[in-house]
Assembly symmetry: C2
Homo-oligomer: 438 residues x 2
């Protein structure tokens, strides 16, 4: 069992020591922020960005400069998408209540969303955040298996409740529960990747059984976002999932990051040809409206529901349902799953060309519009990543970092990203790397 060296959340965070170097308005804003929210809230960049508007793949700063957003996955169908905003506004003006009353839009939405899943996953529980969804998924798994042990990857992030922080090593090793075992993310491109991953999972299973926890669940983000973005070869999850099921545990697919089309399939697990026992949804589900959910086999919910029950005040309300429906409309009408696949492939190809022969780059990988570029170990990795992030920002492009030692830049734009945006991105990356390597 390995522990992360440092919290990913501490990376690319404004340091208060930089305050004097900023323009007066930004400095004042940060002072007000620190005074009200405390000094430890994460704020991107050494010179933070003040944003005033967003549209499609663009974010506009206070000084009027447009930034190409290649980072934000919440506004999955595009910043401030008019179809989504209109649906939200119309429903909020009409009826905004909870699921203890009946209203049609929820059943229309539930049926349409469930139709995108394999038929075995025919029940849904609505929550308000991905954290709440993972928290509930873990409780359901524990109850249905009678075991408490959870296997997650070394740098995973699954959310911020107490129970979910215990299975989120990227938030800091001090959070981890005694019932949690870490395995390295499945990296590599060969056929052996799945078997290597499964071997680690089998070791974790033996440890959990030996220590009396048993195996409740293997919980993975199916694109391994915070581990550094690992998607290939598709299918690599199957042997590990088989081992977990053989030990009486469930496979929980955390679709908060890969879900809703990002990897070029509607769901990240579908790329691997698997059906999870429980799928967890979050961020992109409402394109910024706070909504989330858990999709699962009905017998798992029946048992939990009969014994415990679950009610979420905001979850599945009419506004959430109307917004969720609008997001599905846009995904379909604009062909965003196909767009993620085709533009994602094009973007990966552009990036691969740019980094060819650049010695600080170790690997370009990913699926759909979720691409990671890992830097190699010949230089201090965090410094390289940070220089690329700041270099891209100075060229009007926003990205983030992931992985062990934050050695990977994370390219995860809204799904309406077009080829022209990929070209812009590749040009800015080329200039940044040239400057860095000169």
């Amino acid at each position: 069992m390995t522990m992360p060296a440092e919290k990913i959340s501490d990376f690319n965070t404004f340091r208060a020591g930089n305050l004097e170097s900023l323009d007066a308005r930004t400095a004042d804003r940060i002072r007000r922020r620190h005074s009200a929210l405390g000094a430890h809230t994460a704020l991107f960049y050494s010179s933070p960005l003040t944003l005033v508007s967003g549209e499609g793949v663009w974010l506009v700063a206070e000084d009027g400069r447009r930034y190409l957003d290649a980072y934000n996955n919440v506004p999955s169908v595009g910043h401030c998408h008019p179809v989504v905003v209109k649906a939200m506004s119309a429903q909020a003006a009409l009826l905004n209540t909870h699921t203890r009353y009946l209203f049609d839009v929820l059943y229309d939405y539930s049926e349409r969303l469930l139709a995108t899943y394999p038929s075995e996953l025919s029940n849904i529980v609505f929550t308000s955040t991905g954290s709440e969804s993972n928290d509930l998924a873990l409780r359901i798994a524990e109850r249905s298996t009678g075991n408490s042990g959870v296997i997650v990857t070394e740098y995973a992030y699954h959310g911020n409740t107490k129970a979910v922080s215990e299975v989120s090593p990227s938030s800091g090793a001090e959070f981890l529960g005694a019932h949690v075992r870490l395995v390295p993310a499945p990296r590599g491109a060969g056929a052996a990747t799945g078997e290597r991953f499964a071997a680690h999972v089998r070791t974790a299973i033996r440890e959990l059984e030996r220590d009396g926890f048993g195996v409740s669940a293997l919980l993975v983000d199916t694109i391994f976002s915070s581990d550094g973005v690992f998607g290939d070869p598709a299918g690599f999850l199957a042997p590990a999932v088989a081992a977990v099921r053989a030990a009486g545990g469930l496979f929980i697919a955390d679709e908060v990051q890969p879900g809703f089309g990002r990897t070029g399939a509607m769901w990240g697990f579908a790329r691997h040809g698997l059906t999870p026992d429980i799928a967890v949804m979050g961020k992109p589900m409402g394109n910024g409206y706070p909504m989330a959910g858990v999709v699962l086999r009905p017998e798992l919910l029946d048992r939990f529901g009969a014994e415990y029950g679950y009610f979420n005040t905001f979850g599945g309300g009419p506004v959430a349902a109307a917004v969720g429906m609008a997001v599905l409309d846009v995904i379909e009408d604009e062909g965003l799953v196909e767009n993620a696949r085709s533009v994602g492939a094009y973007l990966k190809q552009c990036i691969s060309q740019v980094v060819q022969g650049v010695d600080i780059v170790r690997e370009v990988r990913g699926a759909g519009l979720f691409i990671g570029v890992e830097f190699n170990e010949t230089r201090p990795q965090r410094a390289t990543t940070m220089a690329v992030i700041e270099g891209l920002k100075s060229r009007g492009v926003l990205i983030g970092a992931a992985g062990r030692l934050c050695d990977t830049i994370k390219i995860r734009p809204p799904l309406c990203f077009e080829r022209q945006h990929a070209d812009l991105f590749a040009g800015a990356l080329e200039d940044t790397l040239k400057e860095l390597c000169s």
Copy 2:
């Protein structure tokens, strides 16, 4: 330590056996609901209500009938309030992102909201739900005190995450954590109420210390909603809070239900002349937009932030901040805190007149627009409560239940409730009780 006899959440829930007695459209809707959401989701009334719109204190059903809403506390400033909807729509169309970038509306809102608190409580963490807020508050208390024991009231409900379910006995005794001790809610009207409550809390402190947990927090809803609505005499919390602090624990005020003016003061703890160490906000904060928060002394947040950090994707986003600001605007512009006090007093007086001499009523109590009517023990209480709830519904009025054995009806309307609505309510209650006692 007592255990609740039955889950409050199981009360006033539609039973599938009633399906055949319903009209075809409602039955079809419920079949679709059960098929997608499972059969165990809570759904009010033996003949559930299908809603199509809401405005102010009114909810409109599919058949066109208007219902006076005396139950719902989420739409605190009124269903679908146009000022709130407009602020949400405008901000969602302009910019909807997260707190890792800067945007002014969040600092404006934070400062304005914090100004409604005692000056010691000068920091805020934004979350998305009351459950997330209580989950975080418990983690901060545990970290800052070094203790894990939590004291809550016998029928408390604080939310639905794993950690919060462990301190929510109304969700079922099987959830309760080993580190949790239950005390009876402070009931009674005399000066001895506070001392009696403190005596129970001192016993719980001794048990938690004996069992090695120590005291991390006394966590109470300051109007004791699910215990049955207890607000008098104001000040009754002081001796218990002093005992908890003497034992090294914190006082967490759960303001999800009493907060934002409901009890006739902006915050429920203010009625008791106390300043908590941590205050938790939820439901009414966004009038239906999913947003919540934790307000606390800065040294508590500094320590937790430095060691752990906390990031909430949706929490404190521009849309949440704009909505929160609009809610504060409406509370001020429409004088809703004063309205809760004056119309609440009038409503309580009307109800007291109606129940005078009605032998099944034990007590009318509450503060502001949160009133409980408890039935006495001469009849099966759940049957009486249920008959009153259904009787009021048949007369076009919506309410809920609370307390031990659901012996109390819970009257908790939007804060724009007027004297004319109080008169309507009192008339419907009078007719209902007459029918019931005839």
